[in-house]
Structure formats: structure tokens, C-alpha cells
Symmetry: C2
Subunit: 337 residues, 2 copies
Amino acid sequence: MSATIHRLPTDRPPSLDPMMALVAHDMNSVNAVILDRMQSDIPLIPELAGHLIAGGGKRMRPMLTLACARLLDYPGTRHHKLAASVEFIHTATLLHDDVVDQSDLRRGRRTANIIWGNPASVLVGDFLFSRSFELMVEDGSLKVLKILSNASAVIAEGEVNQLTAQRRIETGEDRYLAIIGAKTAALFAAACRISAVVAERSEAEELALDAYGRNLGIAFQLIDDAIDYASDAETMGKGVGDDFRDGKVTLPVILAHARGSDADKTFWRDAMEGRRVSDEDLAYATGLLRATRAIDDTVDRARFYGQRAIDALGGFPAGQAKAALTEAVEFAISRAY
Amino acid sequence: MSATIHRLPTDRPPSLDPMMALVAHDMNSVNAVILDRMQSDIPLIPELAGHLIAGGGKRMRPMLTLACARLLDYPGTRHHKLAASVEFIHTATLLHDDVVDQSDLRRGRRTANIIWGNPASVLVGDFLFSRSFELMVEDGSLKVLKILSNASAVIAEGEVNQLTAQRRIETGEDRYLAIIGAKTAALFAAACRISAVVAERSEAEELALDAYGRNLGIAFQLIDDAIDYASDAETMGKGVGDDFRDGKVTLPVILAHARGSDADKTFWRDAMEGRRVSDEDLAYATGLLRATRAIDDTVDRARFYGQRAIDALGGFPAGQAKAALTEAVEFAISRAY
């Protein structure tokens, strides 16, 4: 098989629709758990959490838990609570990320930290994080608890790693991959893997789904990082060039810097260190990214991880679930176009 | 028995020394776990966490886990990891608290958020919180996991409750007690309770130790809140009058406000809402607290909870551990003098 994504026999562009349709019924149950368990006697908690949770996210991670359970023909409902737990971990990290990055927009809406302030965002994040563990404890699987508590620690490590790499142009591709492997891919991997635990499948199947999720997560993040420099502004629901202005050294920048002239290297250092943040600077950066094929090759790297995700599913039987999980990878990549 | 604390037959002032001596050996093991498990490949994590963890805290909560295990003659070592887990939860909440309160001093030293910034404090807090769950999962008791995940959620709720009560002079004693019961006493209770779980004791014994810890925690917080207005500055290792300037409506303020004239009530409202924050205002507030006996009566309330803590130990056999736990209560109260 070549290193390109093998396309489904269809003319429509790849989308998450098949996966959404596949798990729609289960997702209703997950949403009910989410709504129920974000409640609290302290009104600010459901108010703030609800703003983000109801704010039009794709529920990508719980959707993966549900779709992988379908792949395994898991007949039970334990994964509903666990999928909600995964979403709570994700929501908690988003709340804290927006505080850390001082973001003012997410998914096209004002962030919680802008509306309610940093203190509330930090504390409600802590609450959701605790709730996620309460949900896991209710389920009662120590194996799931181990997978998700480890993923949580890895995510936090990845976030700190990213923080200390920020504004450092000398960050290399390996460190960048370690960062996104931790801050993004670890939860994708765990979300997929726990479906094999509740379905009581073999270690090999657990690891295959872990690999699917991890590679999909890396592909997703690579495309996100490419899109952040895309000239078409509407795709992200956040400002284009945010990473540029924040001095986040993502793969497009790493490639453009590595491939650039001495003058280019100086430009990138100045930009990442916060001395070139105007719209003109961003336009100039975009030009360098184009000249060095840095965006195209970031997408190419994403395609590589996407292919690995698809191949990780090789041992599972063909069917709706496998097709939907495969198309999710193609969708992830296609967002770059 | 009267409502006063029954004193030990000794002339020295009450202290934590007997409890520290009782658990010194165990605490070495706990410290080893703490040092080992705050490590990470990301150097900022142990650096930042170490600043707070090595920063001269009393290790009150893990000490309680260890002392309660001694009370129960627990012969094992499982509680070492769990005591470290409790300390990690506590450290994570301190890191986040200091971000929320924009504190610049803790235990007489600069806070992590001042040295490394809010983003690092938020993320390293998240890391320690995740690590604490990893430690619990390694121990493998779902019962302990349930107790501590619940305590964590309650703490976060208490913190949000406190945040929304901030600067609101109409906060009553009941709500204040709910706040400190959640943000402080819940972890004291859980720290004590889990010793009964690892020692495989009865539900009644679990609940007795829970009650001991909870009441001790409330007493501790009441005294902390009284000390914040104490004229003697050195006791706290943080600035005197911090609560006053932050508009934290603690019991001394609630009592002085309730008992004050209309003019006093106006003063307290102005102060809590941030319109009277000078040193003269603080001096005036201290005068009102004295005139209404608000500090004395806060200490009296603390003594009430302290007595309940001691009485909760009634069913356990006399001995070194019980004496040390009793003296810990007396120590908590004595800090007000």
C-alpha cells in the first residue's frame, strides 16, 4: 500500500457524518450523563461548564470511544459514563488552556475566561477533572482508571512542555512531536483504548485501538497547526495566526525555519520571540511557509500518521464502524483543503 | 463533659511534635514517594512543584493519614502512597488557589505563580492532581479512589462557592461553613478516613475518623481566618489582612457585621466590596472585630468543632496515637493565642 490515504468508494468529501450517525443513539446517553454530572449546587459551575460543553464542540473524543465500542460489537452501556468522563477531562484541559493562552475565542465564541474570569475557569476545570474521576470510579474498572489517570498526567506534562518550548525557535520536530503526542494524542489514544477494556478484548486489540487514536490525534493536531496559518479565516473558529502571535513553535514554523535562509531564520526567531507580530509580519510568514512548502509538508506528515491510524485498524473486521473510523481519519486530513 | 478542650497533663503548650514523632518513620517513606513521583522529563515540573513541596509545609494532611493508621495499629505500608496522593491533591489546590487569589506570599516565601507565572502554576497543579490519581490507582482500592475523587470534586465546588461569595457581605455563617467544610475540611476528613479503609476497619470507624478530620479541618480554617486579622504579623507566613483586602467574607467579618451598628455594616460592605483597603481601614476593621468580640467568638466556634473532633475519637483505644491526634486539635486552636 502506498503512503496515501486509500479513499472510500464515494464522491462526497470525507466527513464525520458516518461516525456521528453510527453513534447517535449512544451519544444521546453520553450527553445525558454530561448534563447530569456537570450539575452542582454552586450555580456558576453548570453555567460556566455548560457554556463550553454546549458550545458546539464535535465531541470527537467520546465519539471515538463509542465508535470503537461499535467496532468491537460491545453490547453494553458502561462506555457511556466513560465517554462522558473523557469529555470532562478534555473540557477541563480546554478551560485551563484558554487561561494559559489568554485566549478570547474558542469555536467562534467568547471563552469562559473572558466571560467569567481566570479564577472561575481554573476552578471549574478542577471540578470537571474531579468529576471525570468520580465517573470512572463509579464504573469501577481499575484498568480504565489507570489508562485515563496516566493520560491526564501525560497531557499536563505535554502542556508544560509546550509552555517551556513557547517562543523558542530552536524547538525541533522531535520535541514538537513529543508535545502534541502528549497534549493531544494521549487522550485520543485513551478514548479509543478504553472501549477495548470495557469490551474485555485482548491486550493486542487494546494496543491497536490505542495506536489508531494516537496517530489520529497527531494527524488532527498537525492539521490544526497547519490551518492556524491558512489564509481562509473561517475554518477554525479562532483567530488565524494565533499560534504565530503567541510564539507557538509548531511544525510549519519548524520546517520553514529549518529550510530558510539566514535572513529567514532571523525573521522566525524575531517572530517567535514576539518582535514581529503585526499583520504584515504574519503575511510575510505565510509567504515563507509557502516558499518552503512548510504547510504542504506538514499536511504530508499528517497524512503519514493518518495512514498509520488506518493501518492500525487492519485486524478488525470490515463494516460500518471500521468505515466510519477510517473516514474520520480522512476527514481530519481533509480539513487542510 | 464541658465544651472546653480537655487538656493533657503537661505544662508545655500543645504542639504537633507528638504526632510528628509518632509518624516520623512513615513520613520518611511518604516524602520519598512525593519526591519520586513529582519527577518528570519536563524539568519545570519538579522545579516548580519542589518549590512548594519543599517549602516548609507541615504535611498536615498526610501526617493525619499516618497518625490515624497508627491509631488503628495498621501494620502495612499501603498508606504511604496514599498519604503522598493526599499531599499532591493539597499541593495542586494550593498552586491553583495562589493563581486564583493572585497571592504573592505563601509560608513566607514567594509563590510559584509569582516566580514562574500563572500558566505554569495551573499546569503543574494539573500534573500533580493527575499524579495523585495515578498513585491511588497503583494502590488499587476503589473505595479510596471514591473517597478521594469525591473529596476533590467537593474541594473544587467549595473553591467556586468561595469565589462567588467573595466581596458579598451578605454571605451568612451557614454558607461560610459550607465553603470551609468543602474547601478545607473535606480533604482533612478524607485523609483520616482512608486509613480506616486500608486497615480494613468497619464503616463506623471510617465515619468516626472522617468526623475527626472534618471537625479538625473546620477548626483549623476558623483559626486561620481569625489569625488573618491578628495584629501579630509573623504567625502566618503570609500578609496580615490579606482576606480583608481580598474581600473574603470569613467568620470574623460575618460576626462583626451581624453585630455592628448601621454605620459598621456600611463600613464592612464598603471594605468587602473593595472601597476600604488602606492600612487605616484594616486597623479600623480590627477595632470593630475587637469591639464585637468577633475574633474571640470565631475561636470559640473553632473550639466547638475541635471538641467534636476529639469526641469522634471516643471509641478508639487510649495510647500514643490518640493522645497525639487529640493534641493536634489543641494545637490547631492554640495558634490563635
